[in-house]
Symmetry: C2
Subunit: 405 residues, 2 copies
């Protein structure tokens, strides 16, 4: 649809009646500037936590389908209140739940994937000149059951709707005013980026710089929808635009990311038989445990050490699987280390630029930071370092690449 | 469907996590006794009030459609929590919102009327041996919009579903243990009735004995569904069954009702022209004001006094209309009186039994209670008396008809 803007406001942006009224005014101003507008909202503030707590007072492991019925009420409350606030300002408006907006998903409750958008209703409402307010994070499966999309769900709803209706862009309003060269809480000199590519922001997200969930960025890239990250509290700031990288061949470091929430597991003296690593990784995959940096060292003939990192919150489970594996194949020992952190530099094409990688390693060397493991991709170089040295290293690397300028 | 029981639990019955767990146990016990069971629930305790308050913090007169989107979340929370509690006890269960259960309504938001029940889904779920938990008070209109049913909505949902599926009976669980001969808070000797007819309970409801909303009783009568009113806090008590009156010709007083929440309006010296009363009543009807006891006295030639009673909460509005009418037709004066109450005796066929009416009037006469107005129907006799004498009169009349035995 021509001249269509999609906006998404997160839970802190609709966290109180006053904030809802402010956002209503902002939306009405945009509408009056002559645009069609669809607004996706999350649940107010800590509503979702309150609902989860209610469920856990009843059941330690509530059935997923019923959890989705419960959680979906959070966004349903926000959309109705925001619609009321907009109506009060004199604009035509309608709220739509995930099922009403036609966001079809598979039936994997609590982390459903979007399969389709039936856009008939939303197009009709827009044609009647209404502002359309949509409950994020929720959809409907083939049985007419309510589903929720899991982590990053509201951002993903927004991008899916922007893609389905071919919007000009999708603006994600949050409590930060854009994408930064590094986490400003750690690196005081971090600078907001005006522009970054999908691939770069994807790497930043997956490397622990938690601006946007990778799902929403992947979807935006797939459908070529420009994404804008900006603050709902500062009207003047235009945020960061995420789009395709149009530069030719130029490579530079765009940002530095640090992930402290990881643990390293090492399985020592694994007999070197064909298919043995595959066996471990499939056992972990079956438990839905995502591995990150993987290293396999051959110590001596026919015996390997295998190390990998996982997120903190699955460390316990990954250890259990590793013990089981070690027992099964006759490995000697399983160790874990929570004292490591992953430091990454991000930028399209940087791995192909030897100046950048050598500058990165040299900076760490000069600081006396030991590198445990290295992992690279087209758009990032990550190293595993001691956690207690990681923040200082991040600040120095940020400076070394001139990102504080 | 054979062997099907429909139950409805009100807001106080699901007012806390503990109460939800208790009700879950009760439902599971019934299921294990070999019945199909559908349970309709209201929103927990004061959830609805909290939601209404949120809306009013934004908008003094929130749009009805959005109000329904907001209010429907209350029941959606209860059904998911109750389903979780039942699942924990090991029974198969599914929660369904009003839209999911196929309760079709017209589009009069905030007080929608049920037009149809699409029972395919609920039958399928019952056939899979699941306990079905349904959000009361809500449905869906032809545009796929969420509607709510207004006063008595959850009871009406329950009866509509019981009727649509031809259930054996519909049990309404509430905080009282049945229908009483009179309000036990006023008449200490009031007795619980084991059995009462639809017509009698309808009169009691409309005369201020607020056990069940007339809508649900009318629907139950229309489809011949036996209704049971009972307490969710006492397992042993079987409550009151409401069904057709199968006795032949026997008439007796079943209950006494008192309505203190009324006001009387008198329009004095209305010129006696044809159609003039009709004009007043249609003006009131246009504002959706329901009149109750109407008296027209001809004082002298060509001049009338017209009096009627209305509910307290529309007294102000009814007065405005009456003033307007008085001005228009040249009546001399409009008065109102909040010092009256309506006392009624209820029982099928009592109006045709002169012994009953004379006993009623004699009791009031002996107490020195002056009767302002009398109104009768097939199943009730109502009188308008001074409010300050009404409670004592109620107790005496209750005794006079032997209802304390």
């Amino acid at each position: 649809m021509k001249n269509l803007l999609v906006q998404k406001y997160g839970g802190t942006s609709v966290g109180s009646i006053d904030k809802i009224k402010k956002i209503a005014q902002r939306i009405v101003n945009i509408k009056r500037s002559g645009k069609h507008i669809i607004v996706i909202v999350s649940a107010m503030g800590d509503t979702t936590d309150t609902l989860v707590d209610l469920a856990h007072q009843i059941h330690s492991n509530p059935p997923s389908r019923e959890m989705d019925v419960l959680l979906a009420t959070g966004e349903q409350i926000s959309i109705s209140l925001l619609a009321m606030a907009i109506e009060l300002l004199g604009e035509k408006v309608i709220s739509l739940t995930g099922p009403q907006v036609g966001l079809k998903t598979n039936s994997t409750h609590k982390r459903a994937r979007i399969t389709d958008l039936d856009d008939k209703r939303v197009i009709n409402e827009l044609k009647e000149n209404k502002i359309v307010i949509v409950a994020g994070f929720q959809g409907i499966d083939a049985n007419d059951d309510i589903t929720t999309l899991g982590r990053g769900g509201s951002d993903t709803s927004a991008v899916a709707i922007a893609a389905g209706l071919n919007a000009d862009k999708c603006e994600i309003y949050t409590d930060v005013d854009g994408v930064y060269t590094a986490d400003p809480r750690i690196v005081k000199d971090a600078k907001k980026l005006d522009r970054i590519s999908y691939d770069e922001v994807l790497e930043m997200a997956s490397l622990g710089a938690g601006v946007l969930h990778p799902r929403s960025v992947e979807l935006a890239e797939k459908f070529g929808i420009p994404l804008v990250v900006r603050s709902s509290f500062h009207n003047e700031d235009t945020g960061t635009i995420i789009t395709t990288d149009e530069r030719m061949e130029r490579t530079e470091v765009k940002g530095i990311a640090l992930d402290n929430n990881i643990g390293k597991i090492s399985i020592m003296e694994v007999p070197d038989k064909p298919g043995i690593a595959y066996r471990l990784f499939s056992m972990l995959a079956n438990r839905n445990i995502h591995l990150d940096m993987i290293v396999q060292n051959t110590n001596r003939a026919a015996v390997n050490d295998i190390s990998f990192t996982v997120d903190d919150d699955v460390l316990q489970e990954a250890l259990e699987v590793s013990q089981e594996f070690a027992f099964e194949v006759g490995a000697q020992k399983v160790e874990f280390d929570k004292g490591v952190a992953k430091l990454s530099i991000i930028g399209t094409g940087i791995v192909a630029n030897p100046e950048i990688s050598s500058q990165f390693f040299e900076t760490l060397y000069n600081l006396g930071v030991n590198i445990h493991t290295i992992s690279t991709s087209e758009t990032k170089i990550s190293v595993l370092v001691d956690k207690n040295l990681a923040k200082n290293a991040m600040i120095s690397v940020h400076k070394a690449f001139g990102l504080d300028q």
